[in-house]
């Protein structure tokens, strides 16, 4: 197995077929992630939220990522510094989809921000999910910090950071490469770029001189790879290989994942389904049928069931309380050192 070959891995049947049980699990999570985003979009359309952004089209990558990391709290587990297309990862970690709706509807019950932040701005200290913030690429300057804390001898935890293709133009991406690869101080960090070929309305072509974004790791002596993130088997193996490398070698790895943006950039660009991009879920479902792991009928039923479940949840969320004006003053300063172990 070539690690770091900068080529888009071929899709299609190969020796690395995933076990049927795993396929079923992946499919369930991918479907839930997709339907959750679609529910959030509908909520936006119906006035139950002011702005939608999320990750439909990235599930074949984001779900495996959530399953493959070592979930937990503190340096002996993996840190995740994600951007705003990570619902699939959160669901795979075990997040409650209803909480995403709460954030969409900016309710007081929203556990991620109590009605303060946009949809898909997750945080989960219990699982080492650092707070997603809107500014593009800042997570790439922050992530080396958690990875540095994981350089302790015997520590097996690693740090994972994700972001988009356009954002790699920010200096923070270079900061991440520089700080991760200092000779003798290499960091256990998996640096991921999800390349959907767009920054809002701006196509990839015309903004990049690199043939592949993953090539940017090469001068720094990093392992690199570019993989097809629309094929869940390829993505699963690609992410696993990268995580295993970082966990074992305690060195950085730059992984570029080619993905689709199936509902455009966000609600600001309409959030309409984009027909001409590859749909990883449809593709996986065809494959599941081929491999006779699930039938169309079973999958249809499942889809209907989850859709209904989410619809009902969204109705309940609509009735939950909104924040009170005085709450702007809450959490300006911490009174306890939570990350230091105070409870």
């Amino acid at each position: 197995m070539t690690i770091g070959a900068s080529t888009v891995k071929k899709q299609g049947p190969d020796a690395r077929e995933l076990a049927p049980e795993l396929c079923v699990r992946l499919h369930d999570l991918m479907l839930r992630a997709r339907l959750l985003e679609e529910r959030l979009i509908t909520m936006y359309r119906q006035g139950d939220g002011y702005f939608w952004i999320g990750g439909p089209g990235e599930e074949a990558f984001s779900v495996p990522l959530g399953l493959l990391v070592d979930k937990g709290q503190g340096i002996h587990h993996d840190y995740l510094h994600l951007h705003y297309r990570a619902s699939g990862t959160l669901l795979a970690l075990g997040a409650d989809p209803v909480d995403s709706m709460r954030q969409m509807k900016n309710t007081a019950t929203d556990p991620y921000s109590r009605g303060r932040n946009f949809a898909s701005h997750y945080t989960a200290r219990k699982w080492n999910v650092a707070p997603v913030s809107s500014p593009i690429e800042v997570q790439y300057s922050i992530a080396p910090g958690t990875a540095m804390a994981q350089r302790k001898p015997g520590c097996k935890g690693i740090t994972v950071v994700t972001g988009g293709d356009a954002g790699t133009a920010e200096g923070d991406f270079a900061t991440c490469l520089v700080w991760s690869s200092r000779k003798g101080s290499e960091l256990p960090i998996l640096i991921i770029v999800t390349n959907n070929q767009y920054g809002i309305s701006t196509p990839y072509a015309g903004q990049h001189g690199e043939a592949r974004i993953s090539d940017r790791g090469k001068p720094f002596g990093m392992e690199t790879a570019t993989i097809d993130g629309n094929d869940v088997e390829t993505a699963y193996h690609g992410v696993k290989r990268a995580i295993d490398y970082v966990r074992t070698e305690r060195k950085p790895y730059l992984l570029e994942v080619m993905v689709s943006r199936l509902y455009g950039h966000s609600s600001a660009s309409g959030a309409n389904f984009v027909k001409d991009e590859d749909d990883c879920l449809a593709r996986f479902e065809r494959r599941l049928e081929e491999r006779k792991i699930l039938t169309r009928a079973v999958m249809d039923e499942q889809r209907a069931k989850i859709t209904q479940e989410f619809l009902e949840a969204s109705k309940r969320v609509r009735e939950e309380p909104q924040p009170e004006p005085h709450q702007i003053w809450e959490h300006v300063f911490a009174t306890k050192n939570l990350v230091g172990g105070e409870a």
Binding site: Y50, F51, N106, T107, A108, S113, R114, G115, R116, N117, F118, S133, S134, P135, I136, E137, A166, G167, A169, E170, G171, G199, I200, S201, T202, G206, Q207, A268, Q322, P323, E324, P325, H326, Q327, I328, W329, V332
Partner: protein, 355 residues
């Protein structure tokens, strides 16, 4: 009547076709989007930059040094905070090299709350901007001023920051405040300069720019948006229409507020402020930025230092709450920034204050 975003677009068209503007650029500024708020649709010199604010400001400086005339955009002012050092350089270059070079660029960026933008699309930039010497800083409250300030910004030999009050971008001008050369019919204007939404129409559509005349609003000159005798309200941008509405309501109660639309934050029109305060003896500053180390505090400090014995009531600031962000939920946003009701209450209290 044009909206503010149409007025800015028309100013940029005049800029590129008659005033030497060479590059209008930033994230999503060029085709197909023409800017997050369509301020740069259909402009000949508009292009999409990499997603890199430091590059945008740096390249604007470089273009300016090379004799080009750039208008760069930071998509939301919330994303300009990684460029403050470069903005400082744009502002200090002429001074540091004792006049050898100048840096004639325009940076524009949408500011402020009012569109439910949550933590990172609601920032203000006025306090930060006024802390960077060497820049001129303007912020319109209506389409005609937006047009006139943008033309002044373009022809200025210094870096000029053009703060676009986000919540007003789609608001139309008041009757009578037509740009010189703008057609009488709003629908016609939209047909002429707004890209059609449907892809089919879009394909064969071309903009038809009206024959616009130049109109310059001088940088450094405030405007009395409403004359009054009881209280002076010094404000700008989005808070001007709110202050006007509050003043109109208070007029019914016999309170006559003067609303000063500053328009230029630096250099600002001290004469206009002084004159008004000498008349009303009561002053309120209103802006949305967080209230610690706020630009309104500068104005009030100067008023207090220079006009202490003119004051019949404590000068007052109405500004944003000093919290780390503006929350998404309506209740949170409203609790964080001035509203018409809060402005009204503040004017009323000042007017009724008994020394």
């Amino acid at each position: 009547m044009a909206t503010m975003v149409q007025a800015i677009r028309m100013a940029l068209h005049v800029g590129e076709s008659r005033l030497g503007v060479t590059d209008i650029f930033g994230e999503d500024v060029g085709p197909p989007l023409g800017g997050a708020f369509t301020a740069t649709q259909n402009l000949d010199t508009a292009w999409n930059s990499p997603l890199d604010e430091r590059g945008i400001v740096g390249v604007a400086i470089g273009l300016a040094l090379a004799g080009a005339k750039p208008v760069c955009e930071i998509q939301f002012c919330d994303y300009a905070f990684n460029t403050i050092d470069l903005l400082k350089i744009a502002g200090n270059t002429h001074w540091a090299c004792a006049g050898d070079w100048n840096v004639p660029l325009v940076m524009m960026t949408p500011v402020g709350a009012g569109i439910r933008g949550s933590i990172y699309h609601s920032h203000s930039f006025d306090a930060q901007a006024t802390r960077i010497p060497g820049w001129k800083i303007v912020m319109p409250s209506n389409p005609l001023d937006a047009y006139g300030l943008m033309l002044s910004a373009i022809v200025d030999p210094n870096p000029v920051m053009f703060l676009k009050p986000k919540a007003l971008l789609r608001v139309k001008a008041k009757a009578g405040e037509r740009l010189p050369g703008e057609p009488d019919d709003d629908k016609l204007l939209a047909k002429m300069i707004d890209t059609p939404v449907s892809p089919a129409e879009r394909a064969k559509w071309k903009p038809q720019w009206p024959e616009l005349q130049e109109h310059y609003v001088p940088i450094g000159k405030a405007k009395v948006a409403r004359p009054g005798s009881h209280v002076t309200v010094v404000t700008y941008g989005r808070n001007v229409p709110m202050a006007l509405a509050a003043a109109d309501e208070l007029a019914a109660e016999g309170v006559d507020a003067e609303i000063l639309d500053l328009r230029s934050l630096h250099p600002y029109d001290w004469d206009a402020i002084r004159e008004s305060v000498k008349k009303t003896h009561r002053v309120l500053c209103v802006n949305e930025d967080t209230e610690v180390t706020n630009f309104g505090e500068h104005i009030l400090r100067r008023v207090t230092e220079e006009l202490f014995y003119e004051l019949y009531a404590p000068p007052t600031l109405l500004a944003g709450a000093h919290v780390p962000g503006i929350g998404l939920a309506d209740a949170l946003e409203h609790a964080s920034v001035p509203t018409k009701e809060k402005i009204r209450a503040a004017i009323s209290e000042l007017a009724r204050h008994e020394p």
